[in-house]
């Protein structure tokens, strides 16, 4: 199976203590490992102002995870845990591997096009293999 790349962002209530967040992320990492996945990145963006009220809160603690996995049902398990967790007020999982693939394709295509374009000659083209030995006259302005 192809390896899928997921972005998981969830928001905790603003007054959540640090240990609870760490415990929560540990649980999630365990769940990821059970489904043969790997957590690539784990970031805590801290308390941020929300663009709109979520569960009567105007601020929240943003946690960002990037996960690689081959199993799709891992997402269901993670979201179930997040739904049950008390401090989490919002979560979103985005699948990104198709986008990354497209990005790589575009970069590759662009580089190929750049390589195919005739480049300006950096050095004078030296086409002579050996200097003319026998004939006395030299080729006019050869190089």
């Amino acid at each position: 199976m192809e390896e899928r790349l997921y972005d998981l962002i969830f928001i905790c209530r603003p007054a959540t203590p640090e240990e609870e967040i760490t415990k929560l992320t540990h649980t999630l990492e365990q769940a990821v490992a059970e489904h043969h996945g790997k957590v690539e990145k784990l970031e805590n963006w801290g308390t941020r102002r929300l663009a709109y009220r979520v569960a009567k809160n105007r601020e929240g603690i943003y946690i960002y995870l990037q996960i690689k996995s081959t199993q799709g049902d891992m997402v269901k398990e993670l979201e179930r845990r997040l739904k049950v967790a008390e401090p989490v007020i919002k979560y979103q999982t985005v699948r990104l591997d198709e986008d990354v693939k497209l990005q790589k394709k575009l970069i590759a295509r662009r580089e190929k096009k750049a390589a195919r374009r005739p480049r300006r000659p950096a050095a004078a083209p030296a086409t002579q293999a050996t200097p003319p030995a026998a004939p006395a006259e030299q080729p006019p302005a050869a190089s």
């Binding site: 972005d7 962002i9 929300l50 663009a51 709109y52 979520v54």
Partner: protein
């Protein structure tokens, strides 16, 4: 005393005068109403305006951006009105492909409360 024939202007040989068949058909992307020039060219990008801006290049095509990240709320804010609505392409000059990606990124950001759906005025 010599007869002076009125000097004839050089006969136009091969259309120099009236700029014959060349007529501006509205430039590339035809079918648009004629440009009236922006208000002083350089007004703020947000808000509704009646005139067109000068034809702008797509910012993303110039920078060769391949992926518009929905997590960058400050960058996405430039393409959103103050009321929270997404700006149309003719205001920002984005190309269609990047506009599609941009819309997807804005909607994802809205879902995770990085951007607002609609702000009260």
């Amino acid at each position: 005393m010599a007869d002076q024939a009125p000097a004839q202007p050089p006969a136009p040989s091969g259309g120099g005068f009236h700029g014959g068949p060349r007529s501006h058909s509205g430039g590339p992307g035809g079918g648009r109403p004629p440009r009236e020039g922006g208000p002083g060219g350089g007004g703020p990008r947000k808000g509704k305006r009646q005139f067109f801006r000068k034809r702008k290049v797509c910012r993303f095509c110039v920078d060769k951006v391949d992926f518009i990240d929905y997590k960058k709320a400050d960058m996405l804010n430039a393409f959103v009105q103050d009321r929270g609505k997404i700006l149309p392409r003719r205001m920002t000059g984005t190309c269609s492909r990047h506009q599609r990606w941009l819309c997807e990124a804005i909607k994802r950001a809205r879902n995770i409360a990085l951007l607002s759906f609609a702000s009260e005025l």
